[in-house]
């Protein structure tokens, strides 16, 4: 009996707003979403076009028809037979992973020194980093090319990878901003508990700054995977070292503009990047909001 007298939330009927309020809310919602839907449609249109073309025959790809007839899934198999896509992907992966690793190993200590250690000239060095950030990569391309040519490394992936092992202004800046958000007390506690600065960096800062480091790694992965300019410059004469973007660019001339295969290859190459973005969306947004820059 006593339990029956205790009201539970389930016994209360949820109050419905009056009909005119509900109608207004529905219409406002519809108006808002319709704008978003139109914007989303505009963004997704090229991807739909790529997808549909990748399923056409080559003749149909050049016709004004938008819908594939018949659906030719074989294109995705043919792509691998008619081009060294695996080789390009492997080159891209080598470039991507070694460059990202080198970039993290070199940028993290610099960012730590610029954010958490007190030393004379720190602010001046940070300004130099900012200036380097504003410099377009094309500015230093000619002297660097001459240097790599003298080292007989043009035509390999090393000129793409090695510079990343000397830090990157954008990554240093982003990591520095992230490290600054870590409360000083964590570092002080580690100092008192017996850590030196290197140990603090590896056991405390890197653990606490995981989202920041992940954001930098993701930016680097995306940049290197999509990079066209530097691979074009250094590997164009060495097809066995082409990365995916260079390979795709050459696709048309190699295969007499087979648009359906080009689109199939594009889709295959795009897929991991899109999946990566969806999987790590939060990290991207965190990285972007922290620096106020666009990725």
């Amino acid at each position: 009996m006593s339990t029956a007298s205790v009201p539970t939330t389930a016994t209360f009927a949820r109050r419905k707003p009056p009909a005119h309020v509900r109608r207004k809310r529905f219409l406002v919602g519809l108006a808002n979403y319709s704008l978003v839907i139109v914007a989303a449609a505009l963004f997704i249109a090229p991807f739909v076009f790529i997808f549909l073309t990748s399923l056409m025959t080559n003749d149909q790809a050049l016709s004004p028809h938008l819908w594939p007839h018949p659906f030719r899934w074989q294109n995705f198999v043919d792509v691998f037979h008619k081009s060294p896509l695996w080789r390009w992907t492997l080159n891209s992966l080598i470039y991507m992973s070694l460059a990202t690793l080198g970039l993290l190993l070199s940028s993290i200590p610099v960012a730590y020194a610029l954010s958490r250690l007190r030393w004379r000239g720190r602010d001046a060095v940070f300004i130099v980093v900012l200036i380097a950030l504003m410099l377009p990569p094309q500015v230093s391309v000619v002297p660097l090319y001459v240097m790599w040519a003298k080292a007989h490394l043009v035509g390999t992936l090393w000129p793409l990878i090695i510079p990343n092992c000397f830090g990157d202004a954008f990554s240093i800046f982003l990591l520095r901003q992230f490290f600054m958000t870590i409360p000083e007390e964590y570092l002080d506690a580690a100092r008192v508990d017996g850590c030196g600065e290197f140990r603090i960096l590896t056991t405390v800062v890197c653990r606490l700054a995981k989202p920041g480091i992940a954001a930098v790694a993701l930016f680097s992965i995306l940049y290197t995977f999509n990079d066209f300019f530097l691979p074009l410059l250094y590997t164009i004469d060495s097809p066995s070292h082409w990365t995916v973007p260079i390979g795709l660019a050459q696709f048309r001339s190699l295969h007499q503009v087979q648009w359906n295969l080009t689109m199939a290859a594009t889709l295959l190459v795009m897929a991991p990047v899109v999946l990566l973005f969806f999987a790590a969306q939060r990290v991207f947004v965190e990285g972007v909001t922290l620096t106020g820059v666009k990725g």
Partner: protein, 355 residues
């Protein structure tokens, strides 16, 4: 265990001219519980951080157990510290947080685990060892921070306002726990707080700092009964001591119709007279005052009044028995107990002793 000595220790932050800690001379005995207290910006936390090695010492020395540690990094000073925000690593479990100092010193895992269990038992944390700090309440986090400090049994415990993030009730409880722990271990402890109730209840001795300078250091009762200057008189005690500048004539100052004899050997002129609220009675005759606020704190009530003393308008606080306290808006007479009054030099602010 070790004693701690500040010898003319000074810290000037880069870009500033006035020292945050100014030639601090302080000797903390082995096993003593020393509380550094003062308002914001008084230099108490800086002084503690100088001892920890987290802040540079620009002049003077800091010694622990007779060893000059002025230029040693924190890890070589054999101190452990509890921070205001606990600084527990969010990615480590409670057990790993407590064991962190031992792990950094390369202590074997089996010994570490055993010590963690001992400390957890002592602090009542046994059921939480596998949790992350984010899953703990404020009081439990505070205990974990204490655990991390005591697991190594250092020469000196440093505590930087460790209770300021707790609610009032928990703070009182933790205060007692910290006092008990310190008594058990007998480790020299330096405790920073801005809360004078903490300072008075915890410290064997209390050092009052103001604008980087040590104002007075002594047992809590001594500070309360014989404040060394106007600052300490106003800072220690709640509500604060009533302080009014009054002229002397014929070796007395007249306050509320009561003649209070001025210190012997000092010149005639004006004096700062200090009267604690409990030394100011609501009486039938004395200074006429208007009751503005009555704060009822249980057995007692503090009566905040406005009155005219020595020709100037002042606010005076008197303590009264709660049941007999006047009402807001009443007119009352306030009368000091002459023998409990304090005198200070109006120019230097220093205490003047009557006998």
């Amino acid at each position: 265990m070790a004693d701690v000595r500040y010898v003319k220790a000074t810290r000037i932050y880069p870009g500033t001219h006035s020292p945050a800690v100014d030639a601090l001379d302080l000797h903390i005995q082995d096993g003593e519980f020393m509380v550094l207290v003062g308002p914001s910006g008084s230099g108490k936390t800086t002084a503690l951080r100088m001892l920890a090695g987290l802040e540079e010492v620009d002049a003077g020395n800091v010694l622990i157990g007779g060893r000059d540690v002025t230029d040693l990094p924190p890890k070589d000073r054999d101190v452990s510290m509890v921070f205001q925000n606990y600084a527990l690593y969010p990615y480590l479990t409670v057990a790993a947080n407590i064991a962190f100092p031992l792990r950094m010193r390369g202590v074997k895992k089996s010994i570490r685990d055993q010590r963690v269990r001992e400390v957890a038992k002592l602090l009542g944390l046994e059921d939480y060892l596998e949790r992350k700090p984010g899953q703990l309440s404020g009081g439990q986090r505070q205990r974990v921070a204490m655990g991390r400090a005591i697991i190594r049994l250092p020469s000196v415990f440093l505590m930087d306002e460790p209770l300021s993030n707790l609610d009032a009730k928990l703070r009182v409880q933790m205060r007692a726990d910290i006092a008990a722990l310190q008594a058990d271990f007998g480790v020299t402890t330096v405790y920073v707080t801005h809360d004078q109730a903490e300072a008075m209840t915890l410290g064997h001795r209390v050092a009052v700092l103001h604008e980087g300078k040590l104002q007075q250091c002594g047992p809590p009762r001594g500070l309360y009964e014989r404040p060394a200057n106007i600052f300490v008189a106003g800072f220690i005690g709640s509500p604060a001591m009533n302080l009014c500048t009054l002229p002397a004539s014929n070796g007395n100052v007249s306050f509320g119709g009561v003649d209070v004899p001025v210190p012997t050997g000092s010149s005639n002129g004006s004096y700062v007279l200090g009267v604690r609220p409990e030394s100011l009675e609501v009486a039938t005759e004395g200074i006429s005052a208007h009751v503005e606020v009555v704060e009822d704190v249980g057995a007692d009530a503090f009566v905040f009044c406005s009155a005219e003393v020595g020709g100037q308008a002042m606010r005076l606080v008197a303590r009264a028995e709660a049941r007999r306290a006047p009402q807001q808006g009443d007119r009352v007479s306030l009368r000091p107990r002459a023998e409990e009054a304090h005198f200070f030099d109006p120019a230097s602010g220093e205490r003047l002793d009557r006998r």
